[in-house]
Structures are given as C-alpha cells and as structure tokens.
Symmetry: C2
Subunit: 489 residues, 2 copies
C-alpha cells in the first residue's frame, strides 16, 4: 500500500481539518451523552444483547470515517446495551452510578491529556490535594502518602508490596522472596483481590490464612490471634492482616480496632480493604464505625463505587510515606528529576506505584468533591444504608422470603423460600429469580452463595435508587417465584 | 454536624436539580475544553507554575459549589499550567499528544460509565474488537489473548507473570517463588519497568541480567546467548528475555528475529516491550522492521503514546491465551458467571489481569482507529521519523553540535560541544540548555545520559510538530549555549 508523500512542515495530520465543524460535531455528541445520562423512567435496566451486537466483527479500519458516523454507531450499537449501572434499579455486585458532572470532568481530562507519572505541572498539585483530603478524611498523620490508581485490586497489590518491604527489608526488591515463611491473614469473607495480590507478588496464595467469621460475617478476631500464635510457634513470619470494611457478600465490617491492636503489638502490617465501605466516613452517621481506620498501616478504597466518580478510580493511602516510596522508587537516567523546569517537582507519583505513565484520574475525584461536597456525598451514602434497612425489614415481614445475613450496611441478602423444596431446589430457584429479574429488565441484583445457600443479593451503591424501586423489586421477586414454582416438577 | 432528614423515596441526591441548566453548563465547559485543545501559535510550551498554584491548599470541601465555579477554577488554575504535551514543540520523554476527538470519546466513556471487569454488555464487545484488531495488526495466531490496561508498565508486569507460570507451572500461584533459580535477560538500554516488574513479582531485580548493547544501542545477541549458556551451566533457569522495540533513550530496535529463535530453541519466554515502537506497524514504511514481532510470546505497548489516545491506555497481547487466563483467573461465589442474564459473557477480562473493576479505556482506542484509520495514524508516525532524520542531519551539519546516537526511529540525542570544555562542564552545559529551553517556554526536550555524556533528547511522538518547530529548537539551542558559555568561568 503506497503512502502519500509526507510534508514535514505541514500542520497536524490528526487534527480536524475544520475546527469549527469539529466543534459543532462535539456539541452534538455531548447532547447524545447528556441525553443518555438522564434517567428515562420505565426503561429496562438491562437488555439482552442482540446477535448483531454480540457477533459484530469488522476488519481493522485502514481508512478513517467521519466522527459523526462513529458517534452514530456508539448511539445505536452501544448505548442501548450498557450494563445498567446508571439506572436506579441496578444493585448487582458493587457498582457506582456515576454522575452527570463526570461528563464535564472527563472532557477536561481528555483536553488536558496529562501524564501523571511526574514532572511539574498543575495537574500534579490537584492529585496532591486529593491525597491530602483523603489523609485528612481518614485522620492519617502527616507524612502519610497516597496514590490514585485504577481501584482496590491494584491498591491492595501495592499495599501488600509495601508490607513485604516492611517485613523483609528493602533488599527484597533485588533479592526476591527468599523468605518463604511469610504468612498473611484475612477473613473467609474477604475479596479475591487479596489472594490474587499474594499470587502476583510471588508470595503465593497458600501463605494466606483464611480466618473464620462470626455469624455476622465479620472476622473472628480470637481465632485470628490463635492462628498467629500458632504460626509464630511454628517459626513462620506473620507479616500482614487484611481487614475488610464492607465485605463483598454482605457488607460486614471487621473489628478494625481490635485488629489494629493485635497488629501493633506484634509489628504486623494492618491493611484495610475498604473498597466501598471506607467511604462511609463521608457520612457523619457512619463515620463513628470507622474511627479505628486512622490506625491502619494502609487503606485501599474506590472512588468509582460509593463516591460515583467514573470508572476506574481508586486510592491507596500508606501511613509510612517514606516506606511507601522506598518500595517503588527508581531513578534511571532518563527520569532524573531536576530542581528547575519541566522535570522539577518531586517526589513523582511514579515513585509510589506500579505505573510510570498515569492518567489524570484525580481530576474527576477533585471535581466530585468540590461540586458535591462531603455532606451531599455522605447523605447519598447514608440514604442507601437506610434503604437497605427498609428492604431488610420488608423481607423479614414477608413469610415467603428469608433474610440470609444481617443488614449491616447497604447490602441485603435474602432468598425466596417454600417449605416443600430441597436445599438444591431452593438454590436453583433463587438463582433463576436473579436471572429472570435481569432478563426481564426489571432490576439487576446479583447472585451469591452464603454458607451453601444461593441468595439474591441487593447492593445499594446507587444514588438514583428510590424506595419505589425497591418495592418494585420486592413485588417482582414474589411474582417470578410463583411463575417458576409452577414450572418446577 | 447534623444531617438533614433523608427521604428514601426522593429522586437522586447527586443528579442535577435542573437538567436543562446542567446541559447549558456542560456545553459551556465543552467550549472551554475545545478552546484549550486548539493550538495557539506562539504560546509557551510550558510555563513555570506560580506559587499560588503550587502552594494552593484548601480544606476538604464539606459544602458543594456550582459546577460552573469548578470549571472556572480548572480554566484559571490548571489549563495555563499543563505539561505541554499537546503543544507542537513538546518532545520530552515519550508523550502522546492526544486528539480533539479524544474529548468526544471521553464524554461518552463518562456517560456510559461501564465497569469492564466482565458481564454481558455492549462495551465488552468493543474491547474484544480492539483486541482482535491488535492481534491482526501484530499477526498473532487465533487463540492469542489480550487486555487493555493503563500502560506498558502494568502490561509488562502481567506478561512476566504469565512467563513465570509458563516456567514454574500454575502451582506457582499458590506456592509462590519457591524456584529461586529463575533468571531473565534484557538489554542495558531497556526500560526500568522491566526490573520493577521483577521486583513486584517477588522474583527480584537481581535475577535480571543486563545484556550489553551494540554501538547502535540494540541488544548484543551473541552476548545474550553466551550469558544464557553460562547460567544454564550453573544450574540456573533462564525463563524470560525482554526485548525492546524503541528503547527509551535512543529509539533502538533489538533484533527480535534472532531473539525469537534463541528463545524458541530453549523454551524461554520472549516478551517484547514495544511501548512506543511497536505501533510502528501502523506505518507501511516501518512495518517491515517489525516482522518478527508475530513470533513473540507476549507484546506490551501503549495507545497513549504514538497512537495519541488519551492517557492512560496500554495493551498486553499474549500468544497463548489459555496460559494467560490460567495465570489470572479466579471465580469466587460472588463472581460466578452465568449462561443467561447480566452475568453471562465469558471469559471476563478480569480473568486476564490484575484488576477486577476496569474502565472503558477501549472506547477511546476504538474511536481513534475508526475515525482516523490505520493509514492516517501510520502517516503521522512515519512523519515523526522523517522529522527525526531531518533533525539528525541538521545536527550533523552543525559543527557546534554532536549527534550522540544513530537516529533509528523518532529520537534524536545530541549535545552542544565546545573544544575547551571538560566532560563535566559539557554535561552541565547540556543539562542547563535543556532546562533553559523549558523555562523559556521555547521547547520541551528531555535530558538523558548516554555512555556518561549528558545529552539533549528530542523524542518526536507528536502529530502537531512541523519542521519549523525543529528549526526553532535548533536555533534556540545555539543561542542559549552561547549565553551560558559567557556566564561560565
């Protein structure tokens, strides 16, 4: 394929040929985005994808096409078939809703196109401000450090890497895990990202002890203490406890005050996985339950869940900022920072994490906090907890339903029950109810398993949910269950 | 602080009270973004940050404020003090320029707010399409897998994790690095993210052998072969060679055809770090130099550099898709995929990487490829290489300048020379020239060190650069050097 001759002195090959026409297109595209963002009552939460969307394949485009054609394809092939997490009746897994002003943040992020690995430019000070606000929010001491990242999975990976340097010394960076005696502890309800982090770090998931939980699904700290003592007696090296604030299944809070004391006494790193629960501190009503978080050695949480910043945005905070830097810093010749010019401004965020090039995720967080303010964000969080309590009570008053876990935060786990059904039949029935709710576009809860029972799981991290949405869910569960029971042998 | 009473059935607390007013604000904000995006000739590439930007601190906002006020702050406190990588005279490190249509992609990303960890929704098929295009572009066989990620640092981390499972078996996930005999190889010019990945993986950077380079800064493969033979003879286990397509200092290409043969003969994993150079395949003129990339076991590269997708967007491709999945997959109860409903659609991307929640980065890549097409993107890349050749020739014709490395791609490393200056004085002088170019807002090259010499490094990954911009740089270097020489003792 011959390439046209190239003029070394011409204007950009990739900029719009006609800026004014481009601006018109961009405003039209914005109307498409804004129109999609406004909730349309009565619309399905989720729609089964037609084959022409699922099986659409197209060859790698050699020729370009007008932006308006591409926007049109987004409008017809993507927007009608999204996940549904911007809808008021989406309660699956733990998803954020996003906000309308997220559109404004992200257009600014794209225009600025900052690389947040380091160097001296205004966006760096915006991220530093966000980290400082988070340090304040969690009452960590001055000297604590932080980094914005893609989410709690990578934040936890980074935190455990710092914990490893804490336990094994900075020479573990060059020497690797020669110490095969490291052991870590987390509850049986903790998130899979914890064991995955240990795998990636080369410590291995077998080094992670699973601590049993109380009936409320929080970690049994007396067992934790016994397990640590046993491992110490066996000559192993307990180096890490990962506690959870808001378990993924039921929203349980581990007793972080007790865990902090245990860890401090033994010099063990205490990492808090607060993926969604940690931002409960934004609400004055929930904050007291999180008081001991200020004693943590590290905290991981997401902005894209309960703070409704656009995906993907998470955060790691570390009490010992210097140790954090020692874990990740490196200074090759091509990245020498200077005292003057563009390469000034130190330390660089790339010295605190995995990535060198980084996006300007901080701007979306900064805009969200400034536009909404802590009070309004906290009120939306607290409202979700009250809604979960309301639904829990509705479940308890309904003899066809069974509440399967205490409603400790914003998650309601329940199942439909019928006396004549076996455990297996009940499990199938409840899994089917979840699928039917989704396929019919009524609501999106997710399914999980609690102590062997399949349950319907409603996780309300959704600022659009109204009580009427939960009433619609309640009613639909009963109706669908009766339909399915008729079909059953 | 008392919270107002909460109405469980009210509309969203975080949605705009007045959608129509919000839409007006959003369009005004778009004009701010679009206006910033258009290059204003004569404007400084970079401006020293005033203290009121650097030292600005504000308490965590409890009350919100109008979005228009926040946009105004972005306009006055951020936009005048950005890094400069959207400017035609920015050539520092390796930065992408971004494109105007990136603004449109990102507003759509924000409106859709997809979580790309998994599940069945249209955005998943967009990412799958992008990965399929990349597989085709690099001529990898069917069955290859891929994942979009934040950049080459994390792509390389993931790739080396797959290589470890390849060498040590999938049980390394649970057992950790019991095998302390793993050794890896990369050239002395490779990027710091390679050794950082080995540190994070717990293998340790001491396990990474630094292979010396030829005068053109590409890996000396005969030494590689000798080093591997020596390690094998010592009972060690060579498991990985990381080759580089476009070294960060000079843009050198390793001989990947030879490295592929060496690796295939010995069953060693061959990972290609093609952070910016790999997308040379978009140009028909550069593509032949990359032919052997289709034999790689894994390839890491960035969309945010030479393809000018907004930060942060990178990619990992793995030839053995099943091994890739085996390295990262896990299926806790709360993430069971189903054959029907929202939880259908498998495998999920979270089974191929570090993150569970993931952003819809794929959309920006998809829009860029569809709007621009491969030909136009390739032409912008090729033009940068011709511009680098032009500058290299201009340097060679100027007796006050010395070309410090062959111009093999898009990077020109040179220095100002004066006979009477010592090595140390020359190093200081050239570092000062770089800082002065930046501080005066004329141009942003970066500084690096090649075989002990400080050099001025011009990396042209910029679709806005014209030859006249390079002429301005050339002229300014000479002028600044004469000024600085006068000040020297």
């Amino acid at each position: 394929m011959p390439e046209p001759s190239v003029d070394l002195n011409a204007d950009s090959i990739l900029d719009p040929a006609d800026w004014s026409a481009f601006c018109t297109e961009a405003h039209l595209a914005l109307d498409v985005a804004l129109n999609f963002m406004q909730e349309r009552p009565g619309e399905a939460v989720w729609t089964e994808l037609p084959d022409e969307v699922k099986n659409f394949t197209e060859p790698l485009p050699y020729e370009g096409q007008p932006l308006s054609t591409v926007v049109d394809e987004i409008k017809h092939r993507i927007l009608p078939y999204t996940l549904g997490n911007t809808h008021s009746r989406f309660w699956g897994w733990v998803h954020g809703t996003g906000t309308a002003s997220g559109i404004v943040s992200q257009m600014m992020v794209a225009a600025i196109n900052a690389n947040m690995g380091g160097r001296d430019h205004a966006p760096m000070y915006i991220e530093a401000q966000v980290i400082e606000w988070m340090r304040h929010l969690f009452a960590l001491p001055p000297g604590s450090s932080g980094i914005i990242c893609s989410g709690t999975s990578s934040a936890t990976l980074m935190a455990i890497n710092v914990a490893r340097v804490h336990a094994a010394g900075v020479e573990v960076r060059s020497e690797g895990n020669s110490n095969t005696e490291l052991v870590a502890y987390t509850s049986s309800e903790s998130h899979v990202s914890v064991s995955k982090a240990l795998e990636i770090l080369g410590i291995g998931s077998a080094a992670l002890r699973s601590v049993p939980t109380h009936p409320d699904f929080s970690m049994d700290c007396s067992v934790l203490v016994a397990m640590i003592a046993e491992d110490l007696a066996s000559g192993l090296k307990p180096f890490l406890v990962v506690s959870t604030l808001g378990t993924v299944n039921t929203g349980a809070f581990d007793d972080i005050a007790t865990i902090a004391t245990v860890c401090q006494d033994l010099g063990i790193w205490h990492h808090v996985d607060g993926a969604f629960g940690a931002l409960g501190v934004l609400s004055e009503k929930i904050k007291p339950r999180l008081a001991a978080i200020s004693q943590a050695d590290s905290i991981a949480f997401d902005f894209h869940k309960w703070m409704h910043v656009g995906y993907a945005a998470g955060c790691l905070l570390v009490r010992d900022g210097e140790l954090h830097r020692q874990t990740f810093e490196s200074s090759p010749a091509y990245l020498q920072s200077e005292t003057q010019g563009v390469a000034a401004g130190s330390p660089w965020p790339s010295e605190y994490g995995i990535e060198l090039s980084r996006g300007f995720t901080a701007l979306g967080v900064w805009v969200q906090l400034k536009e909404m303010g802590v009070q309004r964000l906290g009120r939306a969080i607290y409202r979700n907890c009250l809604q979960a309590q309301w639904l829990g009570e509705a479940v308890e008053l309904d003899h066809t339903l069974e509440l399967m876990a205490p409603v400790s935060l914003n998650i309601v786990c329940f199942r439909y029950v019928a006396d004549h059904l076996s455990v297996g039949a009940l499990n199938s029935l409840n899994k089917r109810i979840v699928v039917e709710l989704q396929v019919r576009g009524i609501a999106v809860p997710s399914a999980t398993v609690l102590r062997g029972h399949s349950v319907i799981r409603v996780c309300i991290t959704n600022h659009r949910t109204r009580r009427s949405d939960l009433e619609a869910l309640h009613q639909a569960v009963g109706g669908i269950a009766l339909e399915l029971l008729k079909e059953m042998p």
